[in-house]
Amino acid sequence: MAVFRLTFTKTKRDKLAQVLWILNWISVVTGIILFSLGLFLKVEINKRGELMAERNIQYVPNMLIAVGLIACAINFLGGKICYDCVDTTKFLRWKLIMLPYILCTFFFTFCVLVGALMCYSMHGELEESLNLGLTEAIRFYKDTDTPGRCFLKQTVDMLQIQFKCCGNNGYKDWFQIQWISNRYLDMSQKEVVDRLRSNVQGKYLMDGVPFSCCNINSPRPCIQQQITNNSAHFHYEHQTEELNLWMKGCRQALLEYYTHILQSIGLSVLIAWLFELSVLTGVRYLQTSLENGLRQGDLNSESDGWLLEQSFMETARVNLNIIKSLGKCNQIDTANNGDPNINIPCTSKANYGPDNVPPKEIPEAS
């Protein structure tokens, strides 16, 4: 009892082959798109590499790049096969390769699906990485003279300007660290020394933020210093003031940005997966109908095509038996006095491939 059996005339088969050829080429383009999406994601992650702590997030773009390249190769081969299937003589060339090709493509579609799901699972790791990375970046903001961290200040400033955010969770993160280097603090002034001594770690803390936190939409010139001191500024109340600085934290802003990219990429990969699956189904039908036509002896007549020859459970059982018998064949039977040269047939019920036609008995040479 075949699974989803369909009848194909010669013209229907030819049409199917042509349609599959076009679809395979579209899949090659889809593979190129997947590859470039993976490359884009890799570039975007590396651009902000300074702001992310070491975490295992490179596997997602790498997987996408690999999947894209393999998809191109597989569909290119598939297109060639389908193009040749219209011609009988050329089909015979590909006959033996078609079944392994279909199996490979089937496992490959699983990889594509895994790739799509990974896009959605990256969220947690990314958040962790950004959290740690931004905390470090804000701490080392002042170290513009330390080799390896010279440009961290510029990176953080550009980030806050571009993504319209301030600090890790909010602007108050800047109150907890010293973001002005000691090189620019006048240690001879009493005020500065007092402030340094006022906390355990000897840091110059203040309720001020860098200029990059300033909100350009504010109707009044930016208030960066003494933010929590209402009396320091005319007509100012920091509890209700929302337009002066950016209110969003940079971790949330970056996370939203990357989540948006990942969701779009995930959706594209899912669509590519559905497309690949449909192409695979078409190729399977083409293969089975051509082989059945060959078996009948006349490729120009009608033939049946199916997805699986027997029902799903039977096919699974048969394949498991094959795998078990492969294992048995490898074990030498010690019952015959350990003589490995005696020929013992493997099983009584052998499966001879999709045709299931036992080979002719070779007459014993006398």
Binding site: T144, D145, C150, K153, Q154, D157, M158, I161, W179, I180, S181, R183, Y184, L185, D186, P210, F211, S212, C214, I216, N217, P219, R220, P221, C222, Q224, H233, F234, H235
Partner: protein, 342 residues
């Protein structure tokens, strides 16, 4: 004696027709490119129109859009003629339209030449408009409560951040205007009152700049206030400090941006003029080659193609004579009509 004659056999004619067809489609693509560049230019001008007092001239982008559309249309028609040229039946349809079409192409080339000139000359107008517009923008920076100018502050801040510039000529332009609104000045404070009274116009002037002038690449946190006062900041000398705020003026920055854009567009249009001229020459050769076939029934015969039927001088004198007779015939008819009336 035809001008620049060339002999054609069947193969050469076919090759010419095919090559010309491809060049015409290339011209269509270039026309689309010019059209989209015109739209891009228009959008950029609109985006920065607040910096130019909403006074900027949209002549060049409008002309570019027109030229782009015309190029598409003219080239598509030319491509169709080339495609049909080797079939005598189809070609006979297009024959009467060829002369007016070539004249139209000449006119179109003249229009493109005018556009190129405008691209290069209008840069002066853009410069002057920018100078005037930026001066006013800086003046109205503080007026975030005046309808029509609410977003001047935001636009100017965004421009200074995006183009990495400060002020009109340089950052000192901010010292000459009051850029903090009176709403945020505590008039009861003595310091504020002194400063306001210290100049004739009663403006609150100071040697500070807005935060958007700050350079993120500076190793030290941005110094915005008391810029010219070295003692107000530790280890600071305003004469040698270059990384603190942007030193370039916004007029220069914006002008160089628009100037680059207009120069590139001008170059593209010059290339298009050359392309269109090549198209016209090719089409003229093809049509004359097809017309001078001795035996129209036999496609294998040789024929001659040229650019002008007579030499350049003779063609010009003929044209002038024709124009004179046109004028003379009008007068003669007028005389006749006057005679008939009496």
């Amino acid at each position: 004696m035809p001008f620049m004659p060339v002999k054609f056999n069947l193969q050469k004619r076919v090759k010419l027709a095919q090559g010309l067809w491809m060049i015409y489609w290339l011209s269509v693509i270039v026309g689309i490119l010019i059209f989209s560049l015109g739209i891009f230019f228009k959008i950029e001008l609109r985006k920065r129109s607040e910096m130019m007092d909403n006074n900027e001239s949209h002549l060049v982008p409008n002309l570019l859009i027109l030229v782009g559309l015309l190029a598409c249309g003219v080239s598509a028609f030319g491509g169709k003629v080339c495609h049909d040229s080797l079939d005598p039946v189809k070609f006979a349809k297009w024959k009467p339209m060829l002369k007016p079409y070539l004249l139209l192409c000449c006119g179109f080339n003249a229009l493109m030449l005018l556009t190129v000139l405008l691209c290069f000359l209008m840069q002066f107008a853009v410069y002057l408009t920018l100078a005037e517009g930026l001066k006013n923008s800086i003046k109205f920076y503080k007026d975030t409560d005046t309808p029509g100018r609410c977003f001047m502050k935001r636009t100017l801040d965004m421009t200074q951040i995006e183009f990495r510039c400060c002020g009109n000529n340089n950052f000192r332009d901010w010292f000459e205007v009051q850029w903090i609104s009176n709403r945020y000045l505590d008039m009861s404070n003595d310091l504020v009152k002194d400063r306001v009274l210290s100049n004739v116009e009663g403006k609150y002037l100071m040697d500070s700049v807005p935060f958007s002038c700050c350079n993120p690449g500076s190793p030290r946190p941005c110094i915005q206030h008391h810029l010219t006062n070295n003692s107000a900041h530790y280890d600071y000398d305003h004469r040698i400090e270059e990384l603190n705020i942007w030193t370039r003026g916004c007029r220069e920055a914006l002008f160089s941006y628009f100037s680059n854009m207009m120069n590139s567009i001008g170059m593209l249009i010059i290339a298009t003029i050359i392309l269109e001229s090549a198209d016209m020459a090719g089409l003229k050769y093809l049509t004359t080659a097809l017309e001078t076939m001795e035996d129209p029934e036999n496609p294998e015969c040789e024929s001659e193609g040229w650019l002008l039927e007579k030499s350049v001088k003779e063609t010009f004198s003929e044209m002038l004579a024709k124009m004179k007779t046109l004028g003379a015939s009008n007068q003669v008819e007028g005389g006749d009509a006057a005679e008939a009336a009496t």
